[in-house]
Symmetry: C2
Subunit: 284 residues, 2 copies
């Protein structure tokens, strides 16, 4: 199956979807991205992703090649052209192509690329029913993880370390405290209190994190924003992660220690239900 991909204003077959070798996204990882879920052919929390994209671009003094309305139209066009019922839309903007120089180029046109990934049954994955296993690894990423850049080599290495250890993902630890998962925010539940790390430059400001935090409070669940250790997590009642593509995903094992008898906990399951219900309602 050949997808239709959007590259700098054109819809092209995926085999023809290319960027210059001089693109700063390729040479310097000088680019930012967003991933928006699609459920029932509609986009989940597009405004949240568009707003975070603007913030990432601003933090890097990078121009945007597109307005939000047009960006939404491209998302919808790709979903339609590729017949995506459940899946993802990936968006990347880079500073553009210019002869290689560490200094930002003047007058370069930003590069914009969007493509889809079909994920049938995304909202009812086997992983979400069984829960996932995580290991802990040191967090050695750069210091501005609040900017959603394509500097994703270490998270990739973390995912591979998890796979080699027979787990599904890795939680990263800095100064003794969990920062986040390789591509998601991390949570533990104690009593009925949901604990997740406070925002800062150390973690991504998850769009799903913000939604889950709001929905949890609306459901009268207490949310405490503070960092926690792996030892505290291992002794928690439950754990879970959130991301745009995994929604609320139960964690049932941390560094080999089972949580809740190795099955998804009630708080994570309930939050997942609420989040999916609300997200489907608000999808556009």
């Amino acid at each position: 199956m050949s997808r239709i991909v959007y590259v700098n204003g054109e819809f092209v077959p995926e085999d023809e979807a290319k960027v210059s070798v001089f693109d700063r996204g390729f040479l310097f990882a000088d680019g930012v991205y967003e991933v928006t879920s699609v459920l029932g052919g509609k986009l989940i929390d597009f405004p949240g992703h568009a707003a975070r994209l603007r913030r990432s671009l601003a933090e890097l003094e990078m121009d945007s090649p597109i307005e939000d309305d047009d960006l939404l139209a491209v998302h919808r066009e790709l979903v339609a052209r590729n017949g995506i019922e459940d899946g993802l839309v990936y968006l990347q903007i880079t500073r553009g192509a210019a002869d290689r120089d560490f200094a930002f180029p003047e007058g370069a046109t930003p590069t914009i690329v969007l493509f889809t990934q079909a994920k049938p049954g995304l909202a009812d994955s086997a992983a979400s029913r069984a829960g996932i296993k995580v290991i802990s690894i040191p967090d050695i990423r750069w210091g501005r993880r609040d900017i959603k850049t394509v500097q994703l080599l270490y998270p990739s290495m973390g995912k591979m370390a998890a796979k080699k250890a027979g787990a599904d993902d890795a939680w990263m630890v800095e100064d003794g405290k969990v920062t986040e998962g390789t591509s998601n925010n991390a949570y533990i539940v104690k009593g009925r209190k949901i604990i997740t790390r406070h925002l800062g430059t150390e973690i991504l400001h998850g769009i799903t994190r913000a939604a889950v935090r709001r929905l949890a409070r609306e459901a009268q669940m207490e949310v405490e924003e503070r960092s926690f250790t792996i030892d505290e997590a291992k002794e928690a009642d439950e754990a879970f992660v959130t991301s745009a593509s995994s929604f609320v995903m139960p964690v049932v094992e941390i560094d080999g220690a089972e949580l809740g008898g190795g099955t998804p906990g009630p708080v994570a399951q309930r939050l997942r239900e609420i989040y999916l219900e609300e997200s489907r309602k608000a999808a556009i």
Copy 2:
């Protein structure tokens, strides 16, 4: 002027030099690179760069799409086709193109790209005669700077911060000590002792650093490998940086404090002469 660029086995005009938007170099910064200088049409320390490339690939469990002999042939072919007398050959290898997934793809073919940059008078630049000014910035890069990856966004930001401050480059500081420049190793000179940071995961293992260290010792200069602070650097007799493309570059100002009356020091100048002389002799 249109360069001839090498992409995955083919020599193509630079306008046609493209990679897939699914290339992991573009999506995950999952790639490594080398820059080799060209003086008088010949390559400076090609074996050193080839050896470091192998190490970078091995550290990332990344396959190589090319043998050293063939890599040398491609370098020479590009130098010839583009008529490079003085300049650079840039080389990048990525894990290749695959549908987006944090986990390393199985069976993907690595991407290889090489291009040249003409730099007439590279060995006698105005900067090398005047010396450069540096500022200090926090080092917030990831923890494996010994692997020469394309995760270069922060060094780019550092170069821009230097330009905005009226300087030429930035020295990065971690735990109170200088790690290195944005794209070079950093040195100070006290008495006739040359001081440069010891090797580790905190800095790039510079090919030029290794050569300069050897040549300095052959010239009876003492080289001490230890970290130093910005305050110590400001009070040094001289300072300089080394890299494949700047060779030995005198530093005459650090955070606004002039060194050696604001002119290049004798040790840096002498090392530059020795390095260029030896490099030209050994060039291939």
